[in-house]
Symmetry: C2
């Protein structure tokens, strides 16, 4: 079964390259598509953080993999694609928790979105503390090294 | 532009109704679709928690809204759809952080997935602590009341 989606909003920011690191200083504007009414953002400043689901539209479908070394680094173990967050993945979906800075009419401004200019946004959800992990989680050692410069 | 996705996996569990609460006791089996190779799960037990993006396939497209009272309750303020997590939303995408219990070949078993039997899974991502909020977030008062019985 095919599932057909349409962008609900689009990203404007200063980031055009899809390289891996240095997302910390970028402020992104997320603007509703013309067919989405403004009321979809009503009350959004009640929340400080949002989850953004987006589409990695610059991925070459030929590069989608099911397994491999994270970032192609042979020092790290081979991991399945569902144990990595890389963009070259089935369905090309990205997901990021962002800090909401400001709303201006049909746009919101957010920090810590790791998406480039022109990225189609598929959904925006408020962060509820009732879904928090409260620090409980386990991860392998390579993740901290891989993420070292991500938010710089 | 239309974005065409396909399920990468499917949910099996004992939950068939789409009512709002009481998800805490449900264990879900997530099984890869036949066209996805098993290596997509290689190494997954290195992680304790996963983010699951799924498709609310039981939503009636006529019921999709852009704004309204959360759960239709007039005691709570009218909020835009991007300030709510309800299923009747543009693109019908669900998102949940789950606890990984076990892997058996082409299936993983998870707790705290709020999706019914037969739900198509669109992506699975490992939780990295580098994306954590560490408790920082603001939300309006109605959320705690709305979520009171959610994980019971």
């Amino acid at each position: 079964m095919e599932i057909i989606l349409k962008a609900v909003a689009e990203v404007k920011n200063s980031r055009h390259d899809t390289s891996d690191d240095f997302w910390g200083d970028i402020i992104s504007e997320i603007t509703l598509m013309p067919e989405i009414p403004s009321m979809a953002f009503e009350g959004i400043m009640n929340f400080s953080h949002l989850e953004i689901i987006y589409y990695f539209n610059k991925v070459d479908p030929q590069k989608i993999v099911y397994s491999g070394h994270p970032r192609g680094n042979p020092k790290w173990p081979v991991m399945g694609i569902f144990c990595q967050r890389k963009k070259d993945r089935p369905n090309q979906l990205g997901l990021c928790t962002v800090e909401l800075v400001e709303q201006k009419e049909r746009s919101i401004f957010v920090k810590y979105l790791d998406a480039t200019a022109g990225t189609p946004i598929l959904d925006i959800k408020p962060v509820f503390k009732e879904f928090d992990l409260n620090g409980k989680r386990k991860q392998p050692g390579w993740v901290a090294t891989l993420m070292k410069d991500y938010w710089k």
